[in-house]
Each structure stands twice: as C-alpha cells, then as structure tokens.
C-alpha cells in the first residue's frame, strides 16, 4: 500500500522535524566550528546556543504556518479548526498538540539560552547537551501529537533515552551517574507497565488507535486494568507518588538547566498524552469511574507527600524536585476532571495553562540554581543563597519571582494557574475535595518556597561566592522568565482562552 502524504502530514510534523534537524545541526556544528577547539568544554560556544535558539524560533514559527498546529486556534478567534488525523492515525494535527508543542519549544529555547555559560563554568560544555535537548524535544512534540498506542510508546522511549543521558550528563560526578542509572532502571521498569497496559488495551479492543478506547469492548475488565497500567506508566513519567522515587535523585544529579528541562518538557508532553488517553477513555463510557478515583487518589497523595517531603530539603535541587512532584499533583486535578468530563471537557484546559506557568517559573528557578552553583556542585545547598540579594539583586529578584509563582502568590502567573485548576475542581462537584487538598498543600508549600527567599534577603552571606553572571544568555533567560511570570498574571487571559480552544480541539 503506497503511502500518500498530503500537506497536513508535513504541517503536522514540521515542528518536530525542525527540532530534530536543529539537534543534528548542533551536533555537527560542534564538530567543525571550533572557535577555540571543539574539544575544549570550558569555552562558551555561543554559536551552538545561537543555532539552538534559532532552531527553536523556527520550530515555534512552524506552529503558526497556514494549516500548522496552532494556526486555526490562533487566527480564527475562538474556533479551533483544522484538526485532522495524519500519518494513518499515528499523529493528530490539532491545536492541543500545538499548544503543548509551543511550551516544549519555548522550554528548549530557554534551556539552551541558560546552559551555555553554566556548562562552560562546569567545564562540561559539549554539543551533545544541546543535541539531546533538541532530539528529545522533537520526540516530545511528537508525543504531544501521538494518537495511537505505538506512536505514544515510540515517542516516550525516544524522549526517555535523551533525558536519561541528560540526567547523567556530568558523567564524572558520582551523583550524576547514580541518578541517571536509577532513572534508567526505573524507567525501563515503568516502560514495562506501560507496554503491558497497552497490550491489555489492545487485547480488549483489537485496535491500537486511542479512538478505540471509546468503543465498546467485549472485555471491559481487561480494558480497565490495561488503562490503569498505562496510567502507572505515565505516573512514572510525571513523577506522581508513589512512582516518584527517581525524581529527587535524577534532578539532583542532573545539570541544573537539564533538570529544569526535564521538569518542564517531560511533564508537558506526558500530561498532553495522558490527557489524550483519559479524554478518549472517559468519553466512551467503557472506562470505569474507578479510573477517575485512582487518578484522584494519585493527585491527592502526590500533592500531599510531594509538599511534605519538600519541607525538610536543604539542597535546592532536591527541594525543587519535590516541588515538581507536588506540581504534578496539582496538574493531575484537571486530568481527573477531563476524564470525568464534568461539566464539560474544557476543564482540562487548566492543565495546559498551568504548564505555561510552570514552564516560566521552573526554568527561572533552575537557571538561578545554575548561576549560583557556577561550576561547584556543593553550591546547591540552601546556605549558598545567604545574602545573595546584596550582591546580585537581580538574580535574587528573579529567584524570588519564580519561587513566589511556584507558591502561587498573587501577582505571578502561578497564582492564576492554581486559581484556574482549583476553580475548575470546585465547580466540578464531586471533586471539590481535590481543590481543598490542593489549597492546603499549597499553603504548606509556601514555607519551603520562602526559605530561599529568607536566605537571600535576610541572612548574612557566609563566604563571598562568584556566580555565573557575565553571560548574556543566562541573564536574558532570567529577564524573560521573570517578566513572563509577572506579565502573564496581568494578561494571562488570552493564553487561557487559547488553552481552552486547544483542549476543545482534542475531540473536534
């Protein structure tokens, strides 16, 4: 059977293709363009950063080309049109995938911007870092668009491989190697669950398409158990308790900017795929309500334990790792609501909007961590932040903005994100308690988010610490993230509306 590709197919994969091409270009450029020797990992290699950022910009632009992923939702004000199934049902061209892709692409760009100076200071500035970010980014974008079990699995495995390597990118550092190894082993374990679940679902429906989840099946029992196993697999990817054990170790061992990338991009694409799965499963009525209860239970446990565990951390990366776990918990709330579809499937939009907020504040926080550590992994302890505000008022400010946003303080986009999610939960009726738990958990979280702020502004510094500062990329990243965090609080409405249109395109 000859494959006839039409322009929609090309438009659908264009962003992913550009990202992968960028990854390859960075790898090759690192081989040939040698300003002071390609094998000198302490040089800044700003050409790699440039290539990466340009690639990200191109990929972002590719979302908006006519018949591109976000073209319809963006231009035709209010109507998400142009959704179609491409590549024989493997992928979907819709605004939902486009929205997730946009976040992933921006995260890739910001990670690249902030990494140059940091990696050089660590003496680990190799082109492979950027290559992995972009290759993985391509896979993530595809995952966000994937609509059958095979393409989901292939995309997940591809992106996982890149982040395993990124997690251990500082290969001479024990913690890095250890974290990466754990991540890899547990990842393989979870892939088993995912695959088994997919096999069960396939067994029950006889189809690999997600759309088949909605059809009636001869064996709903097998189907539901399969769905649960798939959820376990995704639960691992997003770091939901009790599948979260790898998160602190992997984040702590990873380069700070890579940790930010892992936290944001992996979450975005995993949640996108998860929402596609639960919406498809929830709409058919075959999936049992028990699935919703399991998801809700995961959300509660993740929010509570993630925040409680973060309380005692003294290492800022571990703290942010647990914070990331807690945020997965918040993000599971709209997933539950999207599964239930009450009062309408739009409620899943909260997740998309929250992920935008999460992108800005998390990348911002990890960039500051990268700046402060400046080539010394011991500088990731809380004490290293003492008195930072006196020496580096802007860096301290950017950190404060990010942390306050993570805590959900008004004036930052994090507040709007939480508000959207909790509001949807409150209106949902049966899942009101999720909002209640979420609000309590966020209250607890304020404590540990404030600790670095207190250290930066109210403690005397122990020793004078140089930080990565004379680097345009890092500074630009911080400017963008803090500006975005504050600005979106005031004009987040259009982004929220776009997210609502996007989520409507899943089923349209």
């Amino acid at each position: 059977m000859p494959i006839n590709l039409v322009s929609a197919d090309y438009a659908a994969i264009l962003p992913a293709v550009i990202l992968i091409a960028t990854g390859l270009a960075v790898l090759i450029a690192d081989l040939f363009v040698t300003d002071d020797g390609y094998d000198n990992p302490s040089s800044e290699k700003s050409h790699l950063v440039w290539i990466g950022v340009c690639g990200a910009a191109l990929a972002f632009a590719a979302l908006f080309v006519p018949s591109g992923l976000l073209f319809g939702a963006w231009s035709e004000n209010g109507v998400a049109s142009g959704s179609e199934v491409v590549f024989l049902g493997a992928l979907r061209l819709d605004a939902f995938g486009g929205f997730a892709a946009a976040i992933i692409i921006v995260a890739a760009g910001l990670t690249t911007l902030s990494s140059g100076g940091y990696l050089a200071a660590q003496g680990q500035n190799r082109g492979e870092f950027y290559g992995l970010v972009y290759l993985g980014g391509g896979a993530m974008v595809l995952l966000a668009q994937a609509t059958n079990l095979i393409s989901i699995f292939v995309a997940i495995e591809t992106l996982s491989l890149t982040v395993y390597v990124l997690a251990g990118f500082f290969r001479k550092w024990k913690l890095g190697a250890e974290g990466a190894a754990k991540y890899f082993i547990l990842g393989a374990f979870s892939s088993g669950f995912l695959l088994l679940g997919m096999a069960f679902v396939y067994g029950a429906t006889g189809e690999i398409s997600l759309a088949a989840l909605g059809k009636s099946t001869a064996d709903p029992y097998l189907m539901n158990v399969g769905l649960l196993l798939i959820l376990v697999g995704f639960g691992f990817k997003v770091g939901a308790v009790p599948f979260h054990s790898w998160v602190p170790d992997a984040y702590q061992g990873a380069p700070a900017t890579a940790a930010g990338w892992m936290a944001v991009a992996v979450k975005v694409c995993s949640f996108a795929a998860l929402i596609r799965v639960v919406v498809a499963a929830g709409q058919g009525g075959v999936a049992d309500a028990a699935i919703g209860k399991m998801l809700a239970a995961l959300a509660v446990v993740t929010m509570v334990l993630g925040n409680l565990a973060a309380l005692n951390q003294t290492n800022i990366k571990r703290m942010l790792a647990y914070s990331g776990i807690a945020h997965s918990g918040y993000l599971l709330i709209p997933v539950v609501l999207a599964f239930q579809g009450t009062p309408d499937p739009k409620v899943g939009a909260g997740a998309l909007f929250y992920l935008v907020a999460y992108l800005l504040m998390t990348i911002g926080a990890f960039t500051v961590v990268a700046m402060v550590s400046n080539g010394d992994t011991d500088r990731e302890e809380l004490e290293s932040y003492n008195g930072l505000a006196k020496r580096q008022p802007f860096v301290a400010f950017a950190m404060t903005v990010s942390l306050l946003s993570l805590a959900g303080m008004p004036g930052t986009v994090g507040f709007l994100g939480k508000l959207t999610i909790f509001k949807d939960a409150v209106y949902s009726g049966p899942y009101l308690y999720l909002a209640f738990v979420g609000i309590l958990a966020s209250l607890v979280s304020v404590y540990y988010y404030l600790r670095p702020i207190v250290a930066m502004y109210f403690r005397e510094e122990g020793e004078t610490i140089e930080i990565v500062e004379n680097n345009w990329g890092v500074k630009l990243t911080l400017v963008l993230t803090s500006f975005g965090t504050i600005a979106l609080f005031f004009c987040g409405k259009s982004v929220h509306e776009l997210s609502v249109r996007s989520i409507q395109s899943i089923t349209g």
Binding site: P2, I3, L5, L24, L27, I28, L31, F32
Partner: protein
C-alpha cells in the same frame, strides 16, 4: 498433515542436511593440528576461565554497539528495495534522508574518534 506444511518441512530437512553436512565435511576433510589454545571452546577471543568480573576493554563495546547500530539500520534498506519502483521519488527522498542521517551518525563517530582503536 496439511499440504501447506510441506514446504516448511522440506525447508527444515534441508537446513538439517546442510548443517550436519558442513560439520561432517569439516570433520572428515580438515587437517588436525591440535594445540592447547585450539582445544578450548571458542568465545570471541576472550579467555574463558577467569573471574567473571574481569573488566573488558571498553572499546569492545563501543565497536560492537556501533556495528549493531549500523548493521540493523542497513536492514531497513532491504524492504525498501522490494518496493523501490512503487514508492517512486517519494521513497527515494525518504530513503535518502534516512541514509543521510545515518551518514551524519557515522561522521559524528568518526570525528569524535570512536573508530580509532588507540
């Protein structure tokens, strides 16, 4: 016995004959000059009686991985060949892209020095 199975059985018998025949021919026709090294069982050139935790030289793995990688990727060429005419220009471009990516990989290994033993 179903008629359908006849080719399979034939194929199996043929395989058996070839395998046994080859071994037998080697045994019958080959010269025998035995020494202790030759009497040990063959294991890819690695000493066989040793503590199992003895580290290999990493280069073995590198070469092996690269070999498998390129080896398996070229396997994709075979189905392409069977559909060469049907796929037309599209197939040519597609396969060209595939080979180009493969080539980039080779280039990468080469430049990074993965192909040099020392």
């Amino acid at each position: 016995m179903s008629v359908d199975l006849i080719p399979l059985v034939t194929f199996g018998l043929l395989a058996l004959v070839v395998a046994v025949g080859a071994l037998a021919a080697s045994e019958l026709l080959g010269p025998r000059r035995r020494d202790p090294e030759k009497l040990t069982s063959y294991e890819c050139g690695v000493p066989i009686f040793e503590t199992a935790r003895e580290p290999f030289h990493i280069r073995f793995y590198l070469i092996a991985i690269l070999f498998i990688l390129f080896d398996i990727e070229t396997v994709f060429m075979v189905p392409y060949v069977t559909l060469f005419r049907d796929l037309g220009v599209f197939g040519l471009v597609e396969m060209g892209t595939f080979v180009a990516i493969l080539g980039l990989g080779l280039l990468y290994c080469w430049k990074r020095g993965a192909l040099e033993w020392d």
